[in-house]
Amino acid sequence: MAAITLIEAVNAAMAYELDNDPDVVLFGEDVGKNGGVFRATDGLQKKFGKERVIDTPLAESMIAGLAVGMAAQGMKPIAEMQFMGFIFPAVDQIFCHAARLRHRTRGRITQPLVIRAPYGGGIHAPEHHSESTEALFSHIPGLKVVIPSNPSRAYGLMLAAIRDPDPVIFLEPKRVYRIVKHEVEDNGEEYPLEACFVDREGSDITLISWGAMMHETLQAAEKLAAEGIDAEVIDVATVSPIDMDTILESVEKTGRACIIQEAPKSGSVGSEIAAEIAEKGILNLLAPIGRVSGYDTVMPYYRLEKQYMPTVDRILDEVRTIMEYK
């Protein structure tokens, strides 16, 4: 067992499944010899050959459309979008075909594919490299949207995504690709999709987050503990479909909820969680639901990136407001 980063965990899970299942095939731009621009596929072409780890021409719709065609033949493609900001040409293929083929054919043709993309801000990247657009994909029936927050979760969720019989959009929070290491056993054990993870138990407030923001959220929870506020922290992990049972149970216990996300506030995954809590758990609430998010604005160039992203301080301010509500 070795301590590995989130990106190494993604690599290890893909390697495990390439080894385990001859139908798994990995492709995208620069994923071969170069090992991906972030090195997520480092060494995989050398290990599994050019037949199974394939550099494609530079065209995102084509990458997604190839995955659709290959999955229809029963293969299990893992297709990489180099950055989520470049996924939009592929949206046509993902929304109109990957998400719908099972439904359109009454189950005759299925889409066991994974589309991976690094996403989110915080690495001083150029324009179009830092957005968090998970809500766009979460809105589309037929897709699953999975976001790991740490190395062990990246390993287990990636394995589950590859093995899942339906299309999974797997978004990798690139800001935390290398910030922590976990001891991850490379044993092929998957984590469940459509399941939240309770990362810290508490009784006063439920903090709900996913992806890179889990790190700020957990830090905030520790600071709150010092102030005598006992926060429960939930990693949503699969942001569509959402395991609302875990969230509602927690809110029933704590009576307070705060959702923390990097994406813009309106029409977001956070909006959906807040609406579900309001719809099904409003009578358990002791205070209005709080939200800490990116602003409803264009993701700024990186000189203003820090001002855009939710911080530990912003989380603390929001939680204190919720706790003070009478």
């Binding site: 037949e51 065609g69 229809a72 046509d92």
Partner: protein, 358 residues
Amino acid sequence: MTTTTVASFEIKYHQYLDANGKPTKDIPEFAKDMNIMRELYRDMYKLRVFDAKAYALQRTGKMGTYPASLGQEAIGIGYGDVMTQEDVLIPYYRSTGGLLKHGVTMEEILLYWGGDEAGSNYSVAKEDFPICVPIANQIIHASGVAKAIQMRKQKRAVVTEIGEGGTSEGDFYEGINVAGVWNLGVVFFINNNQWAISVPTDIQTACETYAQKAIAAGVEGIQVDGNDIVAVREVSNYALEKARNGGGPTVIEAITYRLCDHTTADDASRYDDPKVKEEAWKNEPMIRLRKYLEDNKAWSDKDEEEMKEKTAKEVDAAVKAYEAAPKPTPELMFDHLYAELPEMTKPQREAAIKRGAK
């Protein structure tokens, strides 16, 4: 300035029968087999009758929007005739001929256009894609299917089809480009019926031919008289054999004329020139094949009558089956969304069932 030509290309045009059914050059062997030729004629006729029936169903409120293939029957029937069951068809909305030839039933096609997903759950052509409505997406699917076939070292061809207007889409180029660079076994048919709804070809491209778009992808491009079933079948056979045997992709532009509206929701008289259309009718594919059969003493008025009677029965039976098909129940909106319906969505399914088919 002295220059060197570093690349050049030419596009070959294929025609065997002229508009009067007279051979323009030595005809291929299969076209001397009158059993094959009679069957092709009957298939084209069946498609035409089916189209007319579908139109009537739409006009009488018994079916939704439908795109006919009038005048373009030789394309789907031509390539469909050389497809085996192992080959895969990735159709678009005007691939009715190809679908019928590949075993998709008339009832299934009616159900599809009649608004029921059951129509895409093909009983015979299990690996064929459902009809692709968004323009050109299917071109890439064909390459993806062909990549899987190539990786598994199978000898199967993939056939897809697109209108000439669709070749302006990025997906068309992306799909043929990757087929070229990976040497995939795909046959890309372009139905150049002169119209993308109301937009004529001279507004669509500055290329002299649509076939030459293949050249930019390093793919062989062929032009064929799309109203000459002998030529369509012959180039299809060449391209499919090539695809099955590792020879790579082919783009085939079939030149024809859309004698019908774009769909039942369109009125081509708003933009089509009646004189041009009148001329196009002289060129349509069935007249020349009948003349060819008659010239070869392989078709009589009696044959024609028998065909009409048999086809009417067959199409009527399909319409009856379509009309008798059970109405889909509300849970079908949910039951094939995922392998397993998410917990979050289950209450919606229950609610829809409870409301029932009101």
